[in-house]
Symmetry: C2
Subunit: 509 residues, 2 copies
């Protein structure tokens, strides 16, 4: 009986057979942003960023073309170092950068609006390892990659298929991007990210998108968001600049994201990190707008704090939360979408540390007004591992973030005065009309938490959360059904990949 | 070598042998509050609360004295139901209630200021069970009670000794309050809470406080905060009213806290719960001010959501976070300190669910502007169990909340432009002057998290967080040293308890 009740619940949730309303394609925020800094402090940090751009400068390495573009736009060039006159970057960006834009998914119902008051929650990106309770930690494969694409597809509260959801290390480095992009298209119909590890791979990603969406549509619309990391401090390298240029010229979104371990790649203090990250973002985004005015882009902010004992990066920390909050304010004032946050942790297991740190980061993400939250689900071990159990646990938390973001229902029904009048002092509300009418949608229903009595929980096997999440991800994968894909498109993609793969030798660099 | 490094770390932390600056006696908030509702919505809820007070009324059961007091103050009485004219409660409260007050600890350096921009983090309250990894869940004893008093005493980021940190069920119900109050005084020097389960036990608590602080000091100053729960919906019973009257007349703080499982004891919607809870709080706080104008008090707000499957209360939910946020705004507008939040969970284990839910609640606590966060550390299983591992994990999170509350350092040192100028593009900040000067205090240092590399973590035994927390609480208890207590006071307390215990028979009601 108890078992049956549990199983009934398990069949619900993301598999869409319960009565809960479907989550929307992305979150439309109705609550204010939380601003930890006042106007004066924000102006100070903006001023410091301008000082960094003007006085200290930003290096653009082994990329004479970018240097030339900046020079023509009015920057002061010293070798590979670019000094930007105060206000130059801001002016160029504000002239043409979109405040928000639509990233189209191949299923139009799954397209997302990035920027403004919208929040898009996205799987973690980049881990070379995967982790689950059955096998522990091991190198990721393309099979794992497909699994995470499927899990993201089935997770109502994740709005995006992500990018490198894990590194398929069983495939050659210089060809795995074909299978990654193909998997996003084949096994999901949500929006996805392209390859950035080489300009050629970026171009391949664009070409594959064109097969799906058509050449002209891709040129006029954003169908990919792409992660361009700065080499902090104050440096961009040729690889990232190459990918940036491909995507910008093809009108695909670039997410210019300084990646900073504070204390190593930036000063240790929040106001210092925030100014440096913003300066780096301004420089990169300026290049995007100079390459193709109006091209969609996102200011990204990835900051971790550092362990005092070991120098290791730490996650879910209050200091990182502060920098994220400042970054959000700076992006809004500049007028560009903001990427940050997610479900970070240093933990190696889907345990309490993982959850505290992920929840701290997710709550800070919501407060900061992040628009594109890469790394929302699955992240373990400082980003080195993608966790199967962690993924479904985080995706569950993503649903709670949505409720918070949607704010309080102040309608007459929400005020519930009829219920208070009907029930009165000392009585219970379980049977009243208002409760009956609202009960099913009143509270977010977790699909991994156990809220039963202790006795019931013991009868159910005394499982911890990770064990329940383990069963959950397996149930999801077993129930997975691929979205329809036009066979002509599928064939064209496979033919393109085959031809491209055959045209140059495998390599692991 | 690795072992030695870990042990070195373990000897640090709350035991005070490391170089970290000591945490302050309580948190002085420097960041704004987060307001999910605007002025109009808050006025609507305030208006609904007035409608509940006037039209529906509040029951004060088996307490003719309270009824008489309300009648004299102008309320409309119908049997045991009190109808308050619109604005009456607000007017009475705003005339005399303190916006903030000091609760004195027997060690003056540990006194806390409750209200205003201050945040006091307090252990969990009330669990009849305790839980640890070694023994699982079992009934709590006075030994457990003493252990949690000791752990709270040693936790820099908990500011208060709490009250019923667990129910010592090995002692008779009608006499255990002596040992509880004595334990708070003997084994800690932080501020504490008195007994509320019977007016006589409240008076005993006051009498014991007088032995410590002196009769006149207690009459003129707050030395105890006391939890008065309403029997929601819209009812106060004689036991709680009896305790409320004792404490109010003795000028000790009453925390008038509707305890609500939404859907059972209130409507299911956030705006409805908020109005009801506030109406109940207004009624109870009005009685306090009528009994002793100017007596310190706190508006309390305890709301859980409900599982749609089982009717069980659920914790760490977005809906409960919304109600908490509204409660904070209402308390500030009224001008009274606010109690809510903590580290709630329904989980039976110190696992990921426990941590997600606790972190969600703690983050919401900070955003809502809670002044007195009962239940910050230890809470498991919907409050039925006090967890040893959970306690140290939550106390660690409490330190992070402090960092967030203190805001961003915008001093010249915080801005770190000297570091940015010194280091420049492409270099690292590890050795620069600013990093060296600020490194030790720049980042919060957890004492239960593991941020080491995967390889180091495996070498250290592949422990999960709960296992590390298990070792941690044992180390703390082994290292515990009692604060000094004047032997004359100690003897007087013991003599009082002995005499009182002998004066009436044991009973378990």
């Amino acid at each position: 009986m108890a078992r049956e009740r549990r199983n009934r619940r398990r069949r619900g949730g993301d598999q869409g057979v319960d009565n809960r309303p479907k989550a929307p394609a992305f979150i439309k925020r109705k609550i204010p942003h939380f601003e930890i800094l006042d106007e004066e402090a924000l102006q100070t940090i903006e001023g410091n960023a301008e000082t960094i751009l003007e006085e200290i400068g930003i290096d653009f390495l082994e990329d004479p073309e970018s240097i030339e573009i900046f020079k023509e736009a009015g920057a002061d060039i010293k070798g590979e170092r670019v000094h930007f006159p105060r206000g130059m970057c801001r002016e160029i960006i504000q002239k043409t950068a979109p405040r928000e834009f639509t990233q189209h998914a191949r299923n139009p119902a799954r397209s997302v609006v990035i920027g403004g008051n919208n929040l898009v929650l996205v799987p973690a990106y980049g881990p070379p390892f995967v982790h689950d309770l059955d096998n522990g930690r091991r190198y990721a494969t393309i099979e794992d990659f497909r699994n995470f694409v499927k899990l993201a597809y089935m997770s109502d509260n994740l709005h995006h298929s992500g990018g490198t959801v894990c590194e398929p290390v069983d495939l050659p480095v210089n060809k795995r991007h074909y299978d990654m992009v193909y998997s996003h298209i084949k096994y999901s119909d949500k929006a996805f990210m392209g390859s950035v590890t080489h300009p050629m791979r970026a171009q391949d990603s664009v070409d594959m998108a064109k097969i799906v969406f058509g050449d002209e549509f891709v040129d006029q619309n954003c169908v990919m968001v792409n992660l361009i990391n700065a080499n902090s401090p104050m440096t961009f390298d040729a690889t990232m600049l190459g990918a940036l240029k491909v995507y910008a010229r093809n009108n695909q979104a670039t997410m210019v994201s300084p990646f900073i371990v504070a204390g190593a790649m930036s000063p240790v203090s929040a106001a210092g990190v925030a100014a440096q990250s913003f300066a780096e973002g301004l420089a990169g985004m300026t290049l995007v707008q100079l390459l193709r005015p109006g091209a969609p882009m996102i200011y990204g902010n990835f900051v971790s704090s550092m362990s005092m004992q070991s120098g290791a990066p730490t996650f879910g920390s209050p200091e990182a939360g502060q920098v994220m909050n400042i970054g959000g304010a700076l992006a809004r004032r500049l007028g560009v979408p903001f990427r940050s946050g997610g479900g970070f942790t240093s933990s190696k297991l889907p345990d309490a540390q993982a959850a505290y740190e992920a929840a701290n980061t997710l709550n800070a993400t919501l407060m900061a007004g992040v628009n594109f939250a890469l790394h929302t689900a699955g992240w373990l071990e400082g980003g080195l591992a993608m966790g199967y159990e962690k993924f479904v646990m985080d995706a569950d938390q993503a649903g709670m973030i949505r409720i918070m973001a949607e704010g309080v229902d102040m309608s007459e029904n929400g005020q519930a005065m009829s219920a208070l009048r009907e029930v009165g002092p000392g009585q219970h509300f379980l049977g009243c009309e208002h409760t009956q009418a609202n009960f099913k949608t009143a509270f977010y229903m977790s699909n991994v938490s156990d809220n039963n009595s202790y006795e019931q929980w013991v009868e159910d096997g005394s499982q911890d959360t990770a064990t329940r999440a383990n069963a959950r991800f397996k149930e999801m994968l077993a129930a997975y059904q691929a979205p329809e894909l036009d066979p002509a498109i599928d064939e064209a993609l496979l033919a393109f990949m085959e031809q491209r793969k055959a045209s140059f030798p495998d390599s692991n660099i």
